[in-house]
């Protein structure tokens, strides 16, 4: 199925149109390769050059000899296993907490009609107006008062206070037909049972979107973990990279950057269809 766009199919079928189309097409491919793929290529291969080759001008397009030592050194010298594991723990915990608490709260607000539900929802939506980054300092002080500094809980629980994800879930639950839920209750299922075996299985698409948002947000975050984790051994990969970037050989640092990028890029390539469709759909339906 092809829909009509700016250019008519007839115009494109003419010889001149065809020539123009293929010129623009080739130009765009080249532009994308140079602007988006080449920097990534430069990073991946830069890590495999020798210390001497990486500093050479003019640079070599392909490493003269392929060294893996950049990657192995980064793995050992920068304690990447520790930092990657810290990041995994922080991201997984934040994801789990969001799924449990945001889903439960969204379900309650959507289907259980709590007293003052509208006030609560208003209070949650109001936080959308408050840019998260502008509140990091008082949030930091609160976390410090609770004794949660250098503790992954300092990532997990604030992640739950995500009005965007909660609202996404609530709007999805609003669309679920009430009679299905009522039928379950007639059959004697409790609220928790209804949520677990009726609502959640029907909500797989929205849960997938929320999961990806939750994981990406923690993996990519920098300012908040920078504040919270002063203990080097607890830092996630993003903070550790910056802290260690000063006194490490360039090739080793670049290798560490590549390793830090792999998990999210791999996840993106695996779920690209869903992620790309989700971005388009989520935005136009607002």
């Amino acid at each position: 199925m092809s829909t009509r766009t700016l250019l008519s199919p007839a115009a494109l079928a003419r010889p001149r149109g065809k020539a123009a189309y293929w010129t623009v097409f080739t130009g765009t491919v080249l532009l994308f390769v140079i602007a988006f793929l080449f920097p990534v290529y430069w990073m991946v291969t830069g890590a495999m050059k020798s210390a001497d080759e990486v500093a050479r001008t003019p640079p070599t397009l392909v490493p003269e000899r392929w060294h893996v030592s950049g990657y192995t050194d980064a793995w050992d010298l920068m304690q990447l296993p520790t930092h990657l594991w810290n990041t995994v723990v922080q991201a997984a915990g934040a994801w789990l907490c969001q799924l449990v608490f945001c889903t439960a709260a969204a379900y309650a607000l959507s289907k259980l009609r709590p007293a003052f539900g509208k006030v609560v929802l208003g209070g949650i939506l109001a936080t959308l107006m408050v840019p998260a980054q502008a509140l990091v300092v008082p949030k930091y002080l609160t976390v410090a008062d609770l004794g949660l500094l250098n503790d992954p809980v300092a990532i997990w629980l604030p992640a739950v206070a995500n009005a965007f994800n909660l609202y996404l879930l609530k709007r999805f639950f609003d669309q679920l037909p009430r009679d299905v839920l009522e039928a379950a209750e007639m059959d004697g299922a409790g609220r928790l049972r209804t949520l677990w075996s009726i609502v959640l299985p029907m909500s797989r698409p929205v849960l997938g979107v929320v999961s990806i948002f939750a994981l990406v947000a923690v993996w990519q975050d920098f300012l908040w973990p920078l504040m919270v984790f002063s203990d080097t051994g607890k830092q996630p990969i993003s903070v550790a990279l910056v802290q260690l970037s000063q006194n490490i050989p360039l090739t080793v640092l670049i290798a560490a950057m590549v390793i830090a990028s792999i998990p999210m890029v791999a996840m993106f390539l695996a779920f690209q269809r869903h992620i790309i469709a989700g971005i388009g759909a989520g935005s136009t339906k607002g």
Partner: protein
């Protein structure tokens, strides 16, 4: 809105089937139990919102008027924090840089994604390739993008100057020169974030009915006129939304200046959020940091309010 209201009235009717009403005390107990259960589901989320969202917002305003040291007794100081922050030469620099950054990001980071999306929407081949490649930088952690570009911007051996030399153009100091540092950071931010914008524009472009273009063409409109009189009016709403979102996001820029320039050279890239960080963690001046936060909060809150109003208005009219 009307839909939920309708559903709610239907539900109200359906909740009480034709049955003998249970005794009043029993009903009240049932309702209380229902409420207890509803709040049981809500409580985890509510506590998190209270602790990490509502309370910090109030606390920012309170501490802005206090001398505050962690662990110590806070002391009311009136507007002293604000006057001290205003007098700081970095304050002017930070606001000037943040506003310039936002403006440059709008100029560079706004036209380019729109034009790219326009072109991509016309291409009939390799669609998946383009979408994946343009979004790839978004998935690279921002810290890695920043470090990567810091390396590219190296005046001696960096890729940016190598490219200029290759093209026989004069080299630049990029992020190391006071004049070029801010623009250099805008380029990084645009490169790293453009993918999302392009994909959203593409979705918006695909929802434009083809008949509009056909009609315009029959009226003799050329390519540019079709863009001007069909494409732009049809996507005006999405353009406005993304513009507001981008303003809100770029006014909170932190990672790029922190990682690439450290706020330098000569404060040329200190941003408001960076200054907040410095007040709190370098000067240990939490009162000053909160005073700055409140200013940023008020300004960005205004932009967010406009954004939410517009999105809600659109949702209701649709």
């Amino acid at each position: 809105m009307t839909d939920t209201a309708r559903r709610r009235t239907v539900a109200k009717v359906a909740v009480h089937p034709v049955q003998a009403p249970p005794p009043a005390g029993d009903r009240r107990r049932r309702r209380l139990a229902d409420q207890a259960r509803a709040y049981g589901f809500l409580v985890g989320g509510l506590v998190c919102f209270a602790l990490f969202s509502w309370y910090p917002a109030i606390r920012a305003v309170v501490i802005a008027f206090q001398k505050y040291t962690p662990g110590g007794e806070p002391e009311w100081v009136g507007t002293a924090n604000f006057t001290r922050v205003f007098a700081d030469p970095e304050f002017t620099a930070a606001w000037r840089n943040t506003l310039t950054f936002t403006l440059l990001a709008l100029l560079i980071g706004f036209a380019i994604p729109f034009v790219l999306a326009l072109v991509l929407n016309e291409l009939r081949h390799a669609k998946a390739f383009f979408r994946v490649v343009v979004y790839l930088p978004v998935m690279i952690p921002p810290v890695v993008s920043a470090l990567l570009w810091k390396w590219f911007y190296d005046p001696g051996t960096g890729l940016a100057n190598e490219a200029l030399r290759f093209l026989h153009l004069p080299t630049s100091n990029w992020s190391n020169g006071a004049d070029t540092a801010l623009v250099s950071l805008v380029i990084v931010a645009t490169w790293a974030n453009m993918g999302g914008t392009v994909l959203i524009y593409l979705a918006a472009l695909q929802s434009i009915p083809g008949e509009l273009y056909e009609a315009a063409e029959l009226d003799g409109a050329n390519l540019l006129q079709r863009v001007r009189h069909v494409t732009i009016p049809q996507t005006r709403f999405v353009i406005l939304m993304l513009m507001l979102l981008q303003i809100i996001a770029t006014m909170q820029v932190f990672t790029e200046p922190f990682v690439i320039t450290g706020g330098g050279p000569e404060n040329a890239t200190v941003t408001v959020l960076y200054l907040i960080y410095k007040y709190a963690f370098l000067y240990n001046d939490f009162g000053g940091a909160c005073a700055l936060s409140v200013m940023l909060l008020v300004l960005l809150g205004a932009f967010s309010a406009v954004y939410l109003r517009l999105t809600r208005g659109e949702g209701e009219s649709a």
